[in-house]
């Protein structure tokens, strides 16, 4: 038998296991030190730190929704409170087109679409200007100077005037 022959064995060679482990660590370190993966991993580490802060602060569900959705959620809750304080019975609000809001900078951000408005405000119905539901609108949700106002729609003539005024501003998300 050739004394230089290696004897194959089914037992694990732990030196190779160690070498493989080092190779794995080195490969991962090289990859996650490249610019884009490093940036991304840093972002994920930020999520981990956020977790620690969140556990410490223990925010309520409402606060978390507010933090997550920001302005959209805040405006919907504000409208809900306005309706409650004015004791309005199931109003349908006509939403100004977001193109109008952006052009005239009446709000820092556009309004959410009707279904999202309903979800964020726990039940306030709204309608876009070009929707068949616009005919049923009872109030216009007017915006100005980063605030919103409820303008009652007196009659069908008033509604028609409102729709004509906003006609040149296309509706969008």
């Amino acid at each position: 038998m050739n004394s230089n022959t290696t004897i194959p064995s089914k037992k694990t060679n732990y030196i190779m296991v160690l070498i493989y482990s080092l190779v794995s660590i080195i490969c991962l370190m090289i990859y996650f030190n490249i610019k884009e993966p490093a940036f991304w991993l840093g972002k994920i580490e930020g999520y981990y730190e956020q977790r620690a802060v969140q556990i410490e602060q223990n925010p309520s569900v409402e606060q978390q929704l507010q933090d997550r959705h920001g302005f959209s959620y805040h405006i919907c809750q504000a409208v809900k409170n306005m309706i409650k304080s004015n004791k309005l019975d199931a109003p349908i609000l006509l939403l100004e087109p977001n193109s109008y809001i952006q052009q005239h900078k009446t709000l820092q951000q556009g309004l959410p679409e009707p279904i999202v408005f309903f979800y964020f405000s726990n039940g306030v119905q709204t309608a876009w200007m070009n929707s068949p539901f616009a005919k049923k609108a009872t109030h216009l949700l007017k915006s100005d100077n980063n605030q919103v106002y409820l303008v009652p729609i007196k009659d069908s003539t008033h509604l028609h005037q409102i729709l004509e005024f906003y006609k040149s501003y296309p509706v969008s998300l």
């Binding site: 060679n13 296991v17 482990s21 991304w40 994920i44 981990y48 009707p114 309903f118 998300l173």
Partner: protein, 491 residues
């Protein structure tokens, strides 16, 4: 309601054991959880189809009934034939897999936490499934006040009830934002995929692959932002894997697994039906080359197609057209100028240049695509040099990758509303795991894998070094021995 969450895995175990599927423990449990989550998502939908109120009592009763039904056959087999309920063969792991597994576990831990603790802000969820689920909990029906609103801005109310159903169940179980199920699904899928990769390649390569795949930013984001695309990808990959098993070993278990996986994928996203049909074309060609019986192949294709068609028809046609108060004409979504095929090539070009290569692609997938292309180039050179053209697995996984790569622009050509920057981008989730499964079947990767295994189990023989260190003594001893032997022979 928390009991329903525990029932998920038992439903999955019951289904898999009823069809005699047996495999290693982790792979089995992860697949059971995947199947269980998607099956339980149908409970509120089934209640709605039967016009039964969607409340916790009815959900619990139906979930318990489904669990009992799916576990009946395995229990009978256990009692009568003493057949084991679950195979307790645990996968073997080595120390060198720890760095890859450890980093993947860290990433998944964070996404799991976010799926539990962060409310979704995905527009497609907020403008459809989420409000529907919220109102369904209050009004005990999926067809609720949401459908009385101005829905001109969205069509997400017509999407599969899969997502709304899971939100109903998990919110009723006490999770404020409901989305923890996507975290569970992501963990289960990662374990399942890792076990499959290890079937093909050495653990070192598999552990590196799973990290790279998990660290694809766009796909990672959807492991905690629940939407349809990630769960659809999970079931698609499972279906493609089991279709390959059916190709290798045609039997009822594999056939049912393929049918179930593709049907559940289609239930989640209806247009998956198109990809299923194309994928069956790959199966048909390769089965024919493998000289399997043509009648059997066609029968399998028909059965799988029927399963997927039923999963498409019930939520998309039956439910949308006969239950929902508003019509959704799907035929208006189809391209009415199919003779002009230029949109297909335009989309293919956009997908390749914008979504797969280029700077945007790096933000979406990091270097996953570049790694694949680099290894693919090496593989092409290798198989040209070694003339290893005949691997069935190579052609199958190549076909699977092509089905998604060409199938997505084809779907966009058929349905122009499927935009590139959102729907198609997320549909590309189906491609990434398949790229790694394809790489795992590269010839040169198999060679490297075998070498790694061989070196890992090779015992070094150090005795030859000892002999060379003392040649004079050995030679003298040998010479004396030879003299003695010669003397003995003379005598």
């Amino acid at each position: 309601m928390i009991i329903v969450l525990f029932l998920q895995i038992f439903i999955g175990i019951g289904i898999l054991r009823s069809i005699n599927y047996e495999t290693t423990l982790l792979k089995f449990l992860s697949l059971s959880l995947i199947v269980g989550i998607v099956t339980i998502s149908m409970v509120p939908f089934l209640l709605e189809l039967c016009k039964i109120a969607i409340n916790s009592r009815n959900i619990i009763i139906l979930s318990v009934a489904i669990t009992a039904l799916t576990n009946l056959l395995p229990l009978i087999r256990l009692v009568r034939n003493k057949r084991r309920y679950v195979l307790l063969k645990i996968e073997k792991f080595q120390f060198y897999e720890l760095p890859g597994i450890g980093l993947t576990a860290y990433l998944l831990f964070i996404s799991f936490w976010r799926s539990y603790n962060i409310p979704t802000y995905v527009r497609d969820v907020l403008s459809g499934p989420e409000p529907i689920a919220d109102m369904a909990i209050k009004e005990q029906t999926l067809i609720n006040s949401i459908f009385k609103l101005d829905l001109l801005s969205t069509n997400n109310q017509y999407k599969s009830p899969f997502l709304a159903d899971l939100q109903i169940i998990y919110k009723m179980a006490g999770f404020d934002f409901g989305g923890i199920w996507i975290g569970l699904l992501a963990v289960a899928f990662t374990i399942f995929l890792y076990c499959i990769l290890k079937e093909y390649v050495h653990g070192l390569l598999a552990s590196l692959a799973i990290v790279l795949l998990t660290a694809a930013p766009e796909m990672y984001a959807y492991t905690f932002m629940y939407l349809f695309d990630y769960p659809n990808m999970v079931l698609w990959v499972a279906g493609v894997y089991f279709l390959y098993q059916l190709l290798l070993q045609p039997n009822k278990t594999h056939l049912i697994l393929v049918t179930l996986s593709f049907a559940l994928a289609t239930y989640i996203r209806a247009e998956t039906l198109i990809l299923v049909v194309i994928m069956l074309g790959v199966y048909l060609i390769l089965s024919t080359i493998k000289k399997q019986k043509i009648k059997k192949i066609i029968l399998n294709c028909v059965l799988i197609s029927i399963g997927s068609f039923i999963a498409y028809y019930i939520p998309t046609q039956l439910y949308n057209n006969y239950y929902l108060p508003q019509d959704y004409a799907i035929n208006t979504l189809i391209n009415d100028n199919l003779a002009d095929i230029s949109p297909f090539f335009n989309r293919l070009s956009l997908i390749t240049n914008d979504l797969l290569l280029g700077d945007t692609a790096k933000m979406l997938w990091l270097f996953n695509i570049q790694i694949f292309l680099f290894l693919f180039a090496i593989e092409i050179v290798y198989i040209i040099i070694t003339k290893k053209y005949k691997s069935l697995s190579w052609y199958y996984w190549f076909g699977a990758v092509l089905v998604v790569y060409l199938g997505l622009p084809f779907m966009g050509y058929l349905m122009p509303l499927m935009n590139v920057e959102h729907s198609t981008k997320r549909s590309l989730f189906k491609l990434l795991p398949l790229l790694y499964l394809f790489i795992a079947n590269f010839e040169f990767i198999k060679v490297i894998s075998n070498k790694l295994t061989k070196w890992e189990t090779t015992k070094f023989d150090f005795t030859s070094l000892h002999q060379e260190a003392q040649p004079v003594v050995a030679t003298a001893h040998k010479t004396q021995k030879t003299k003695n032997n010669t003397n003995k022979r003379k005598k």
